[in-house]
Symmetry: C2
Subunit: 174 residues, 2 copies
Amino acid sequence: MNFTMEEAIEVLERTPQTLEYFLSGLSPGWLQCNEGEGTWTATEVIEHLIEGEKHNWMPRLEFILQEGDGKPFPPFDRYSHLHEPKSASWEQTLREFKTIRSHNIAKLKALVDPERHLELTGSHPAFGSVKLRELVSTWVVHDLTHMAQIVRVMAERYRADVGPWKEYLGILKK
Amino acid sequence: MNFTMEEAIEVLERTPQTLEYFLSGLSPGWLQCNEGEGTWTATEVIEHLIEGEKHNWMPRLEFILQEGDGKPFPPFDRYSHLHEPKSASWEQTLREFKTIRSHNIAKLKALVDPERHLELTGSHPAFGSVKLRELVSTWVVHDLTHMAQIVRVMAERYRADVGPWKEYLGILKK
């Protein structure tokens, strides 16, 4: 096991600011491109990350602390952000992610005692028994997977533009 | 073609600061992990990006402007950063990338007139004829591929820690 709460938080607290720095002020061409029908733009990825802050990570963690594994987690719609009307500007959306993440990290630190709670279990509707430390590890890797997705989507936009160099660029191998 | 010089520069100028924000102050566990024998750590990726600033992108671009495609580009060792002794601290290394990139972007803006130079060609030792705009597009996608690599390497560290959620995390599919 490599997980420690401290190192997990190091990543969780960097993600929103990192993405804000990278994505703020970019041209619409970068923000609105995707990898084809049914795939997400960078904008949609950030909206999905915000949904996770609201309905997935901390709610499930609190559910473990309060209910244990007697009842399965309430379901979470991974596509809900695609159905909701948008009113916020892009800069507001990036800021919202930063605010809600920072609020959730404060809550995580207040609620979880790494000495006592990491092995607590909850019941995942698909996987069955899962540990609190697996949930927090997944929160971290979920950040990383969506950061990878954002840069992959942007790279896709230049697939033809790089000409023969395509061969050397791992991100375009698929 | 999606390439424009302006949008390419938007990415090029964000990469170093984005990576500095994300990687500065991280625990050694995150910075020194890799994907196994012969693969790179986040630290080695940044050193490779610095090498590219010194010996690849702008030198080749200047070579195109000065020599055209009469002579092939001087060779560039993609692994040179692995052989050099390191003396700089991690924060110094991140700062070095930022400084040299910003210097190179200033040079790029000064040397290249997008109205006149984008279709100029050079001779790549492996690919033959390449265009100046393909070189700059590749510079951008090269940034993106190495950002994807850094987060993938970090995710790998938690492969076992996420437990059954592995199944939902694209970044761990390989």
